[in-house]
């Protein structure tokens, strides 16, 4: 068995980007089937346009339509494409200076082998079948044979200017618990709540840390904690939000387990939310054993023991 536990976690969100007027002008052009550059104060045409001039720092206001045909100025080969790249087959990324522009644009070049790419080769835009005002409206560049005419410009659209794009971001992590946390989660899988005592300050931490946050001493002595404790403080979550796992309203409470020196955050059930109190004595209520995993979620919730509330003085230094 591995010393530490790990599990996959995905962090994903569809970000809504405001483009601002300059990048918006470029993306509106792509949607309409034209490539738009911006003219700098020194007369250069840059694609995509710079939001602010590199010399005067003023916002770019002069826009120039450039040709969809251009010249490769440099390139690199992508032998093994990864997820979400322009192609699922080998391709080139190329810097292409479009006719009428002074600076190159980076995009994919659709060729089947590196032998088909040369610096100086002529290429043209291959437009996407459906254009929405996004850099992917240019599907890629493709080689332009000598004497071949450039592709007919697709029909222009008359829609509103593009002001935003949706950027889908998704990160896949392997979350690795520390050895001490792994001890804690393994304990939960056996119905036990494990902590560790700091040899310097004698505080019992649950979950155990790799080192005491106060004095930095590595913690090694294992302590099994009581399954009952005291609610130090809490809030009642009434607000729904994206990604929420528990349906509101619910009580999110700090539970100071007997024998621990720090409270754990958990869910309180078995009592109406408005009857939960600071100082209330609660006990762990476990899920059925066949649902257990290496998780704090094995404890379904904490519920009142029915004992008298703890005296404020016994937990006030934990607030």
């Amino acid at each position: 068995m591995s010393r530490t536990l790990s599990a996959p976690v995905t962090v994903a969100f569809d970000y809504t980007r405001s483009t601002g007027p300059v990048v918006g002008r470029f993306l509106s052009g792509l949607r309409d089937g034209v490539v738009v550059g911006g003219r700098t104060s020194t007369g250069q045409v840059v694609v995509p346009p710079l939001e602010f001039d590199p010399v005067t720092h003023e916002a770019t206001t002069e826009f120039v339509e450039v040709s969809p045909v251009g010249t490769v100025t440099s390139w690199t080969w992508v032998p093994e494409p990864v997820k979400d790249q322009p192609f699922d087959r080998p391709f080139a990324f190329a810097l292409v200076t479009l006719d009428g522009a002074d600076a190159p644009l980076l995009h994919a070049l659709d060729v089947s082998s590196p032998a088909e790419v040369t610096t100086g080769m002529r290429v043209r835009v291959r437009w996407a079948a459906e254009r929405v005002g996004h850099i992917n409206d240019i599907a890629c560049f493709e080689p332009l044979a000598p004497g071949e005419a450039e592709a007919a410009a697709p029909a222009a659209s008359s829609e509103e200017p593009v002001t935003g794009v949706v950027t889908k971001v998704s990160l896949d992590y392997q979350y690795a618990a520390s050895p001490e946390e792994s001890l804690f989660y393994r304990g939960l899988n056996e119905g036990r709540i494990m902590g560790q005592r700091c040899p310097t300050c004698q505080k019992v931490y649950v979950p155990p840390r790799s080192a005491c946050p106060s004095d930095g001493t590595p913690t090694v002595e294992e302590v099994e904690l009581s399954q009952t404790g005291t609610i130090t403080t809490f809030c009642i979550v009434n607000v729904p939000f994206l990604g929420q796992k528990i349906t509101p309203p619910y009580v999110s409470a700090y539970v100071l387990l007997d024998g621990a020196d720090i409270a754990v955050l958990h869910l309180i059930l078995g009592v109406p939310a408005d009857e939960v109190r600071m100082g209330m004595r609660v006990k762990a209520v476990w899920k059925p054993k066949d649902e257990w995993a290496y998780s704090l979620e094995n404890i379904d919730h904490f519920a009142p023991t029915g004992d008298p509330d703890a005296d404020y003085d016994t937990y006030k230094h934990h607030l």
Binding site: T16, H57, Q244
Partner: protein, 387 residues
Amino acid sequence: MGKQPAAIIGVGQTHHRAKREDVSMAGLCREAIDRALLDANLTLDDIDAIVVGKAPDLFEGVMMPELFLAEALGAAGKPLLRVHTAGSVGGSTAIVASSLVQAGVHKRVLTVAYEKQSESNAMWALSVPLPFNMPVHAGAGGYFAPHVRSYIRRSQAPTHVGAIVAAKDRNNALKNPYAHLHNEGTTVESVLASQMLWDPIRYDETCPSSDGACALVIVDEDTAKSSPNPAWIHGTVMRSEATTAAERDQVNPQAGRDAAAALWKQAGITSPIDEIDAAEIYVPFSWFEPMWLENLGFAAEGDGWKLTEAGETAMTGRIPVNCSGGVLSSNPIGASGMLRFGEAALQVRGAAGEHQVDGARKALGHAYGGGSQFFAMWVVGADKPSN
């Protein structure tokens, strides 16, 4: 050689809104920067170095945005630093910028902080479930609400004090044309009638989610001579503490107390409530006003709410707090700390417009972040410091 004098001669901010869909991140920053430079009567070419700050990258989903922003911020050919200390970042960014001047490294430093919260959802970004853990987290409100409850218990404060703060700040915001919320007619009663979100925190007692930026121009003594009203820096302090130490005081954190004590000492202040004329304190949830009044030493422990309840934190009170409307009225998270620092500077420059405190000579700017583990604060004054 000791610390060199430094002063703020330019303050700029955006019109803060829920969604600034008319500008990009770069455009948002430049709106604040251009206003700060205009105020300072300088151009980007006059600037020696740029310091940028923002809160977690997950908010906009752009890792290390300083890379793509460098040119728009005018940083080509100049030093560019990025600072991050969660919600306090606007304050710590301003402090890093000021330290470059105080150390004599640069003469004219531009600093900017921003957040474009409309690009994602802060509740989501602050509550991403982790494997093995209990998914009971519920954003910043869910984090701070239990500690607000602890404060109420510990101080025995009447439960309407939070509503007093919210009503005050929302009415102050009506005097600030840049504020996000302009909620006419907010009263203690209307706040108390608003929905309970994270009990004991009500809807009207929480900050909005805003797009916005703030920029400051911080200069040396020579350059400051060109300004009719420089705000001199009298003291700057940052402190951090361990978020998860056993028996850590979450209501009155040690790092905040230590930072405040060091700040008052640096600024030569012995009685903050008597010597500070205006305070811009980071109050994202209304109850943090009395909590920070105590943490900062404006009131004894347990007495912060008494100042609030007595109206002493109103614009006409003994210690006006958040005359700009504060975080409760505009919260572009990364910029919120710098807005506090900038609004403090505006007060001592006599440039706060309708929310000016008459004759303000010394002001506090304050920010905190993370689970109350980062603190940043400064004192600015109309007079050059003697120390």
